[in-house]
């Protein structure tokens, strides 16, 4: 219980510090919101009116304070940039609420691909005594890790979209419209995200297993008559998973926060793309909430990893 309270306090403190940092960053970086929204052709009167509407004529401290009180009340504010109707701006909650499922589903599909492929692959690799397989996997994973994700995305689109015609590039349909079609389209960006991560995870698992195989308990297990299969899955894999879980946690945090490049290439309206465009248009209310979301995800995932440790290795919770 004490553990949870400690974690919760850390979470709140971190979120607060991050929001202050983001606010300060917005004060420092050049770029005026009003010019960014109105461009170069607007009348000075319109600029003044907008400045007032957005509350930009108030001192920074007051603005930050107002923003925090609103957020605590559950009002995330309105985007500076995206319209909802002719005269209304899009509420941040609605905007992000709309984009979040895209990123979460993309993350889920990628994660399934990573786990389903990387773990058997890593075990197979560690078990194999064939030099040939070892060399092939070594090269393949090395290459998959080295390819920049932008290029990989284009490559996947070209191969599966243009040559094999498994999907039409850019034919994204909204999850509200056609969920099946949505998932089907997500498969390809998910694959682009997964490929380098699969390579990394498999490599990681293999190395971790090879280290574990040297351990004393393996010899003990064999000498008490365990089969190779039992040694591998019952003892070695479980112990070798510990560092892999941390690694997977890092990957989850990364993809749940939005894969900026892949979303861009496949035209997915997700969190990553929203973040980039909001930063470049100085859409402060959206950026703040997205940064808080990402911070929360990272902390939360590490918290889950912590718990998973305890499940995999009960000795930890005794300490």
């Amino acid at each position: 219980m004490k553990y949870f309270i400690k974690k919760l306090i850390t979470l709140i403190m971190t979120l607060f510090l991050v929001s202050v940092a983001a606010f300060l960053a917005f004060q420092i970086i050049p770029g005026d919101v009003v010019t960014s929204i109105l461009g170069t052709e607007a009348t000075p009167e319109r600029e003044e009116q907008l400045r007032e509407e957005l509350g930009l004529n108030k001192p920074p401290v007051e603005r930050y304070f107002n923003w925090v009180t609103d957020v605590l009340r559950g009002d995330l504010g309105e985007s500076y940039r995206f319209s909802k109707s002719m005269n209304e701006m899009m509420p941040v909650a609605e905007l992000i609420g709309d984009k979040l499922p895209v990123t979460l589903w993309l993350a889920a599909v990628s994660l399934v691909l990573i786990i389903v492929i990387a773990i058997p692959l890593g075990v197979l690799w560690a078990r194999s005594s064939s030099h040939f397989l070892d060399a092939v996997l070594g090269v393949v994973t090395q290459v998959s890790m080295a390819v920049p994700s932008f290029f990989l995305g284009i490559l996947v689109t070209y191969l599966f979209g243009i040559l094999l015609k498994f999907f039409a590039p850019g034919s994204y349909v909204s999850y509200q419209e056609d969920f099946g079609g949505f998932l089907k389209y997500l498969l390809f960006p998910a694959l682009s995200i997964a490929i380098p991560k699969i390579a990394m995870t498999a490599r990681f698992l293999r190395n971790s297993m090879l280290t574990e195989l040297q351990a004393d308990y393996v010899r003990t297990a064999y000498s008490k008559g365990c089969t190779k299969r039992r040694v591998m899955y019952g003892h070695v894999l479980r112990n070798a998973m510990m560092p892999v879980v941390t690694f997977l946690g890092m990957i989850i945090a990364e993809i749940v926060a939005g894969s900026i490049v892949i979303e861009q290439v496949f035209g997915l309206p997700g969190i990553g793309r929203l973040l980039i465009s909001s930063i470049s248009t100085r859409d402060f209310p959206v950026v703040e909430i997205l940064i808080l979301y990402i911070t929360f995800v990272v902390i939360f995932v590490y918290f889950l990893v912590d718990i998973l440790y305890r499940v995999i290795d009960p000795r930890i919770s005794e300490v």
Binding site: E45, P169, R273, S280
Partner: protein, 511 residues
């Protein structure tokens, strides 16, 4: 009858293309245009930017205006030759002294909500943009409106403060239903060929046919989907995969790649690209240094390198497509490099040993970045050691455009159909004069040109203004880049405008 109109459209399209040195790709569309149009169907147009506002009076981004053109219309609207045609108004007269505009409304023009456009709507719209409604003018050129009076149920009279023969171009401002500008939940409602269906941030905007459109027979399409495509590389893949049918602003290499499978057509854009020089920053405050830079540049090879030779070289701030007002000043500095002359001028100015120049370029514009690389190499020949500083767009707007804290920058300024539009900004105390151009003769002449009601006098004055700007080397004007557009081969009727417009009303499927 329809056939004749389509033929006419094809001819006009070709005429526009011919004006900018078309590479012959326009022909395919000529073939298609003779085909019988099919009514119905939908088209997906790839666009590069998200839209900035659904309010036609508040939208300022060119990328938004080109879409809203399909939803909204003004009393008048531009056609594909840059001339004005009557839209919501069927006729108008301007008083001798240029101070009173009288518009007659077209019979039975309906808003998308089914209501007939009344004088009240026109009055409301004009009062809203001019600031008479709430003190906040939304369109700066219409600030001069002093009163909007309803004479009878078909006639509206607008009184302005000062005469300006170009003011009529500003009456393209959208007519919207009275009161809709303050109605919080209102969908955008106009009188255009298409009506608004939905907008999803980062996804796009969907429009459907306006069955009551006043131009009978238009539009052909039932639905138009403007889809946001974030990276130009994805755009090519989406075109090839059949997800989008039309995509404008292709790069030269993309245009080459799509040549076989699409109708790729070049048209003149309304962007003036220049190496803008801050006339107030040393050493560019010396006219000789600015002239030396103009001499040092090889505009022909810039055009070849970055635009595949499709751009139009210019030497001052006027679009060549505005034929009546444009003067060709390319002989002043030549279109190829004159290194000797450049070095001579630099030596005269005391920079015989060379000088340092920082060129800031908005990094999101690949085209300007590439131009920058070529420019740096060319300036090196003349002993100018230029460096590129890539800046983010918001920063560019804030520090360079508004703050004027820079030496040189490569960017583009866009023009509407008003001929004097680009010249306006170079008046010494103009808010838009980000190059700090200061020339008393220019200022006086510009005011004179604005005041005269004599068209020929105005044209002469504009010619002189272009000359001053060029001779004084206000900036090193480079080119009007060509706009390369890929269009599905089964589509026809796409019209190229000299301004940023994607007119979907005349587009149709041929099968």
């Amino acid at each position: 009858m329809k056939r004749i109109r389509i033929l006419l459209t094809a001819l006009l399209t070709m005429a526009v293309l011919g004006g900018c040195g078309s590479d012959g790709t326009g022909e395919s569309s000529g073939d298609n245009s003779s085909k019988e149009p099919v009514y119905g169907g939908s088209v997906v147009v790839g666009i590069q930017q998200d839209i900035d506002s659904l309010d036609p009076h508040k939208a300022t981004a060119a990328g938004t205006k080109e879409i809203l053109f399909n939803i909204f219309e003004g009393l008048v609207k531009p056609d594909e030759n840059g001339n004005l045609i009557n839209a919501v108004a069927s006729d108008y007269t301007i008083s001798e002294d240029g101070l009173v505009y009288t518009f007659t409304l077209r019979e039975n023009v309906k808003f998308h909500n089914g209501n007939v456009v009344t004088c009240e709507d026109v009055k409301y719209s004009l009062e809203r943009v001019s600031g008479l409604l709430d003190g906040t003018p939304l369109i700066s050129t219409l600030k001069v409106i002093q009163a909007v009076d309803i004479l009878d149920d078909k006639t509206v009279q607008v009184t302005v403060e000062s005469a300006n023969t170009e003011l009529i171009y500003s009456f393209v401002a959208a007519i919207i239903p009275a009161g809709s500008g303050e109605d919080a939940e209102a969908d955008p409602i106009g009188t255009g060929p298409f009506s608004y269906v939905s907008y999803t941030p980062q996804v796009g905007i969907v429009l459907k046919k306006n069955p009551d459109y006043w131009q009978t027979g238009l539009p052909y399409l039932d639905e138009v989907n403007f889809k946001i495509v974030n990276s130009p590389d994805s755009a090519v893949l989406e075109l090839q995969g059949g997800t989008i049918d039309i995509y404008a602003y292709l790069t030269d290499s993309q245009a080459q790649e799509l040549q076989e499978t699409f109708n790729v057509e070049a048209s003149a854009s309304n962007v003036v690209q220049a190496l803008f020089l801050n006339n107030a920053a040393a050493p560019l405050d010396d006219v000789r240094v600015r002239q030396a830079i103009c001499y040092a540049l090889d505009k022909d090879s810039i055009n070849d390198f970055v635009g595949g030779g499709n751009g139009t070289i210019i030497s001052s701030a006027m679009l060549p497509t505005l034929k009546d007002n444009y003067v060709d000043l390319n002989d002043t500095y030549g279109t190829t490099a004159n290194v000797e002359k450049a070095k001579e001028l630099l030596a005269e100015a005391g920079y015989g040993d060379g000088l340092e120049l920082e060129i800031a370029i908005p990094s999101n514009y690949e085209f300007h970045m590439q131009t920058g690389e070529v420019v740096v190499e060319q300036l090196k020949e003349a002993g100018i050691n230029a460096t590129i500083k890539a800046v983010e767009w918001s920063t560019w707007l804030d520090e360079i455009y508004n703050g004027r804290q820079y030496q040189a920058t490569i960017s583009g300024i866009t023009c509407d159909t008003t001929p004097g539009y680009l010249l306006n900004r170079f008046q010494t105390d103009s808010k838009k004069n980000f190059i700090n151009f200061a020339n008393a003769e220019y200022d006086a002449l510009y005011l004179e040109a604005q005041a005269t009601l004599d068209i020929q006098k105005k044209i002469d004055a504009y010619a002189q203004l272009q000359r001053i700007l060029c001779d004084d080397a206000g900036s090193a004007f480079l080119q009007v880049p060509a706009n390369m557009t890929a269009i599905n081969k089964k589509l026809s009727g796409y019209k190229f405008y000299p301004v940023y417009v994607q007119d979907m009303s005349t587009v149709f499927w041929t099968e």
